[in-house]
Symmetry: D2
Subunit: 363 residues, 4 copies
């Protein structure tokens, strides 16, 4: 159940970190859409490992092979399926983990859920590697949304204590978006990027890891997308965003900070601007009553530090029910936040494209 998302499109993700392949099948894409494969590759590359000191050393081409749903690169209406072969795997790295769960990983909970026969290699289906097919699906949705004038862009708002400047909530420029799309390290203020990289490098040297916050903007969204109650855009976005490993929180507009503001401070007055209805400020983050207001949709996603660290940790032996000291070897990101940026964009694109297809609810 849990690997299938969507109501108006169905995105079925499959694979494990060390299975023969990972992939995705997308049912419900419109026929006649020419996928820009170069653009998709560029997007996929943004989450690729092995690009710098701050990422895992495992290297993979991660080029999706398309098995169905296309005729000459154009969607044909049948489910589009893409797979990515897993190569460069060192499964032996993980053998000891069968009995000794890594702290703050899913090793123990997956053991309870799926038993001895779960795939422990590389985290199995709980691996961040599964965000690759999510990005294939999201990358295609991004292209479909762009066709409707909707653009999604995210940046690293914070790593450890270093914070980037935030998007201007009422006015996000196309230029800014383009810079983020091309950036090796997506921040709005280039200086903070350097400091973040320093912090990550420091953590790596310490055998430790860092978390952070990603801020995401969806611009060009017409008013009226999303639905009340259980299908609000917040509900929809959260449903997909929490599929990205290590996410621990999500907030919209002013979010948690809104709880300290008074109504008179947090309310956004309506105005007429260029003949259209807008709000003067955008504390609401572009969503009211679950439905987009036409203002930029803004949300922030909290990531915990990668639980894989080189430092010795305390765990237990599941079979012996006794204390064990654990030293994790293998290759790990000291901070997955930079690579998570396209994942957040992909997740948002999936949620928005699915919501966009919702039937019109007025005569």
């Amino acid at each position: 159940m849990s690997f299938v998302y969507g109501k108006n499109i169905k995105i079925s993700i499959f694979g494990q970190s060390h299975s023969d392949a990972i992939g995705v099948s997308i049912d419900g894409l419109p026929s006649g859409f020419p996928i820009d494969f170069d653009k998709l590759s560029g997007f996929m590359r943004r989450r690729m490992p092995g690009q710098g000191l701050h990422t895992t050393k495992r290297r993979e081409a991660d080029e999706p092979e398309f098995l169905s749903g296309l005729v000459n690169g154009v969607t044909c209406g049948a489910p589009l399926t893409a797979i990515i072969r897993n190569t460069d795997m060192r499964s032996s790295d993980y053998e000891q983990l069968r009995d000794i769960p890594r702290p703050s990983h899913a090793d123990y909970t997956s053991y309870v859920k799926y038993g001895e026969t779960r795939d422990i290699r590389g985290g199995g289906a709980f691996s961040g590697r599964l965000t690759a097919p999510l990005c294939v699906a999201g990358g295609i949705c991004l292209q479909l949304l762009r066709r409707e004038g909707i653009t999604i862009a995210a940046h690293i708002a914070q790593i450890a204590q270093v914070t980037d400047r935030a998007f201007d909530p009422v006015n996000i420029g196309e230029a800014e978006i383009n810079i983020l799309e091309q950036a090796a390290f997506p921040v709005l203020d280039a200086n903070t990027g350097g400091q973040m990289l320093d912090a990550v490098e420091q953590a790596r040297c310490d055998g430790d890891s860092l978390g952070g916050i990603i801020e995401c903007a969806v611009i060009g969204v017409p008013a009226g997308i999303g639905d009340p109650m259980f299908d609000g855009m917040e509900n929809r976005l959260a449903s997909v965003i929490f599929a990205v490993p290590a996410v621990k929180g999500i907030e919209f507009g002013n979010g948690f900070a809104a709880s300290e503001l008074r109504g008179s401070e947090n309310n956004d007055d309506f105005i007429i601007k260029n003949g259209s209805v807008q709000t003067k400020t955008n504390h609401h983050g572009g969503i009211l009553g679950g439905i987009t207001s036409g203002m930029p949709v803004l949300f922030r996603v909290a990531f915990k530090a990668t639980p894989s660290i080189s430092k010795e940790q305390q765990s237990i032996s599941l079979s012996q029910k006794e204390k064990v000291l654990l030293n994790i070897t293998g290759r790990h990101d000291p901070c997955i936040v930079p690579r998570a940026v396209p994942c957040v964009e992909a997740a948002a694109a999936i949620a928005f494209y699915d919501a966009l297809l919702e039937p019109k609810r007025k005569i």
Copy 2:
């Protein structure tokens, strides 16, 4: 679509603030469950308006009438349906809002979505009043969960700048839970409760409103509830929690604060305690890889200040496309956070009960 939730039970909510009735139909409840109606009434009373200075003056009995699904107070397997008649409505209060959307309410977005014929009276289906049927459903789920040893309790963690102490993440006492269940104003530290009420009263006098944060704990949850990827407990909880009006954020365990911690600080070592697997700390908030770890599930929900304030605000006329000054009359909560506490519990109960019914995923 959007008023129906659940996979293993289906909860269909209906009604508008000023329709003849609001209600809920719950499909999938097990046959043979004797509902404790007194307990359910007590639970409903916790979200009732008209209990003090900090709530709206609208008074309603809000006693659900059960139309189906029961034989002599015991569930029979057929969908259980309960309605609550709407009385004490003053629809005329809302006539001007047809053309002038209230800032930070859903008046404008619902207009875009549903057009002129939307129900504007009292916010229509976007009203907080719809949380009453949510609480009927949640109140029943709470009773079903309690039967499985699972208890849910929430408290006001913060209103404006006043903060209550947090739950002890590894050890939440039954006594503490019972106090919250009975409390007129649910806080862990009674002193902070008084300060919060003062702050609310002050805001009311100023014609203004306040937001806040609710912390919720789910205890007695066995390890293994929830599913990977799109059906993790975080995804599931967020899906329902964002159905509660005014919610702007959710975080699990350390949440946003986790982004500033290193892995070595945020990881939770596994230990054997009383013969069972536990974690020494609970920064993860009881969920790893979307699946419960057996530790208390802890999450925090951010509420914005009630957008209805008496202060003059700026809005527009939708028909004239021109600026209008808006003075909202009628009865409004200066702070809905206290009344939202049972709503958060109800939402969590619904998400957990649905997840609990998920088929076993191992042979």
Copy 3:
């Protein structure tokens, strides 16, 4: 789960034969649709009991009370909920059935599924009475479809051995449709109607019951409705039609008879007629590959004879595990087929309206 239908609208049915009320909540209706309540009442009346010798003597007004979803009779976008109070119930008629399941009713299977606490009175949620809310939902969908130029009409194709003439598969006149809509006893050939009534009366006198076949036509359907594989129009229609009690089969176009024809006999040549693509014949029943072809959609539904008969039957005592002779008293239709005609239309309307809202699948 099982009382909720639909993807683009959600229809939640509730109630039992002898609960306080039965009803339906419909989520996803477009805002701004003025329901023709007279027409809906007329439609509901066609399934009403107590209209003649061939139906049960239980009399009920069956006028739905609308609780939500409307403002001044016009849909407002919120879920539309209608309830029908149950009156004129004689629950004592059913007490013996708690232990002695009636042959070919759901008494035994509901006992296995829901246990002792199931509602046995009048068949509980398995009663044909639940088709009343189905008809409320279907009646509204019929009005919405009519607005799109789509009309649904059914007639009694057969009762016992008496057969009505079939619809002309390629040319079904508006006049014919109108006659069926008004008819007390919906047949195309009035003579066969009399013979059918005679057969029913004879069965009633014998303390026995009859089954039959209903043929249903959907006209004015544009080509392109329905989806491949699991969401074909046949799959969709069958999903709803089998919700009507006593249905034992469904066939499309030539149906079972097609199995005896050769391809050259059963294929429908394409032609251009009045500038549009049509087929010369309509053996396919208006659906190819799950998708409508633009020709009338034609299907037939088989109903078994009402299992409630006055004749003595053999059953068992569930508690004593021994043979029992059973004499069913109470009021029962000797043939539910005439009353099932609007139910089939309602079911078809629900399936078609839901399919019609499916997003466009081409750029």
Copy 4:
């Protein structure tokens, strides 16, 4: 949407007749199940083309390659994905069909639905070839059901006018089932098999095709599987069965014949046999009120004759809007019914396994 089935498991089918591969991803399989690959291959072979005169000459190994969901041949809880490469394709055979729809195929309706860019080669996603992944999923469900004591077996009940004997509705022997599983041509009465083959060969010589009926039995089903209203076993089975191309009807138990019987003839008396509740006869086909009664589930599926025939047919040019005479070349089954037998079993297995996982609905 339409290529994903299931509530408790999700089966996502993908591919087109001439895409690089076809396949299926199954989410929700229990961890720890050792798939019997030999048995699965044997099952797949039963739907394979190229086995005799009555089938298409296209030959394919059709051995699924498993990409995910397994560790050493045992399910691990992650989605199981299998693909089958398409080889031996002659796409040029289909070029003329882009403009000239074949009678009674989905060429025209898929054109309306998906436009010019639909995949016309070999019927695209509407091809019977997509039943191969359906059989992979179904074959695995069959093994899972067998573990629960449930067996599914089907035979050719009729081809053209030749009819096989029917299953004994109350007593279907294990021996009979085993014979069908091994049979090259699955009939209960071997003599009728020969006559059927003769009829098929005759049709082939005439450049024509034949339809038929498949009868399917599900034995060992405990009472209580399936749900009321929209999720009855009939609804569930029909939902999947109509995914098999060329199916035009389905009936349960006495089915259409029941419409001619009186209640006293069609009702099945309850009896106690070997200490358990059974029915003396099984006109109801093992399902009452949507729920299994513990008797064998019996249903029949009508297949139209393969629409691909060599005889000249009349069609149109979509571009020129004019009459065209069409001669279909290429390789085609004169009768797909024999190959459809495992497909019906697979479809039934999927519907039953999904229903079996439904949560218990009593305390």
